[in-house]
């Protein structure tokens, strides 16, 4: 199984329409500014093609593994950091840390900058917000690192916005995580 990314989280594998509300997106201030900039600099360039490319760029922007988000969220918690330090001090000892039910929220602001002949015409910033409610997870901590995690149940939701326009919204739903995550962070 491929590693789960935000792209997989928001879009199914056969979902080609990454920009379901393109019309609304084009009415946003960012897109309007870029459209005017493109029309002013590159006369004759079809805006439709630029907008297509922008919409197609949403998926690559979401190429961020869920594993890294979870790792980043967990390892910076004070209790987990304490276990990590302890495992580093005690050498080969491994700690199995069960986690209580908790919600991990993550906010991302990926952006697309449009360059024409090395000149920036503008930038579109997307706002991605996620919420994972995790119930029954066990972390494996050893040798000063968070090494593995086993998650029993997870419910997730999320949305992608641009200038207050919700482009994609994923309702609260159960997420099928792999049996275990192996971390390198």
């Amino acid at each position: 199984m491929d590693e789960m990314t935000l792209e997989h989280f928001f879009f199914s594998r056969d979902d080609l329409n990454t920009c379901g509300k393109r019309d609304e997106l084009e009415k946003t201030g960012s897109m309007t500014r870029i459209r005017e900039a493109v029309a002013g600099v590159a006369r004759g360039m079809h805006w439709e093609e630029v907008a297509d490319m922008l919409c197609r760029s949403v998926k690559p922007l979401l190429d961020l593994p869920v594993r890294e988000i979870l790792c980043s969220g967990w390892t910076k918690q004070a209790e987990i950091e304490e276990y990590i330090r302890k495992s580093a001090r005690q050498g080969g000892e491994t700690f199995l840390v069960p986690l209580a039910r908790h919600t991990l929220r993550s906010e991302h602001k990926p952006a697309v900058e449009i360059l024409l002949n090395q000149r920036s015409l503008g930038e579109i910033v997307f706002h991605v917000s996620l919420a994972f409610t995790i119930d029954g997870a066990v972390l494996v901590i050893g040798q000063g690192h968070l090494r593995e995690a086993k998650v029993r149940n997870c419910i997730g939701s999320g949305r992608i916005c641009c200038d207050q326009v919700v482009m994609v919204e994923k309702a609260m739903d159960k997420i099928r995580f792999p049996d275990r995550f192996v971390f390198t962070c």
Binding site: M45, M53, P60, S72, A100, H102, S106, H108, L115, Q118
Partner: protein, 268 residues
Amino acid sequence: MKRLSFPINIDRLVPDRIFIQLAALPVVCALFCAALSSAFLLFFLFFRPAANTLAVEWSGFSAGETAEMTPDRIFRRRGGLPGVGRALFFLRPLVSFLPVMASPTSSPRPASSLIPAGSFPPRQVVAFLKKMHLPQAGSDGFLAITSLWRQGESAHPLPPSLRPPVHRAGPPAWFLRREGVAGWLASALAAGYLLIRLNRMKAIRKKRPELEPEAKMVLDAGVQEMFLLEAVAAPYAFRLRLRKDPGEQAIECAAGLTGRAHGEERNG
């Protein structure tokens, strides 16, 4: 997108350089045809009285020959490649402005038919021409008669059957022939069509100069968190720079993450 009604969608399929070459080809052909036809038109407008003489001299056939003055034979006689004249003959509707093809003298009928047998035997022709002190009379009677007539030395009247056709005022006969008219009309229509097309091409390309309509996406799995999507649309180097964001995470839990503490901790 407004496209030219060529068999292929040139703007979509063909790069700019080839497009220019394809566009130049009909221009060159049109210019060549226009120059050729204009030259012949001017020639016949100004030198029409000598047309028949010229045609006969050029053909090289003598009056005594019974061969048909087909274009192919004429071309061969003049040292041309075999088959060229025949090919031109079949293209006559399009190239009817060529003098040998379309002038009455060059029509594929026996040259000897111009001198009715019996009424004016060749021997009489030779004798008559000798009387006129024309040295070439013996070798090519018809040529000499025609030349004589053209030179205006008609003090010695020729029998009506020997007189070459007299041109009347107005367009040459070949121009009025059906094939000629069709050829001229076709040429004019083709030239007009090309001009209109070229104007439209120019207008379209001026309005939308260089962009290829289907921008080619090149994914460069680039450095760390940034990579490029590039549309090859010369001269525009059109790129999208994507910046991913690992984000900020926060954990909310009711009784501490491991059940030992309360609260929320936020990390950047």
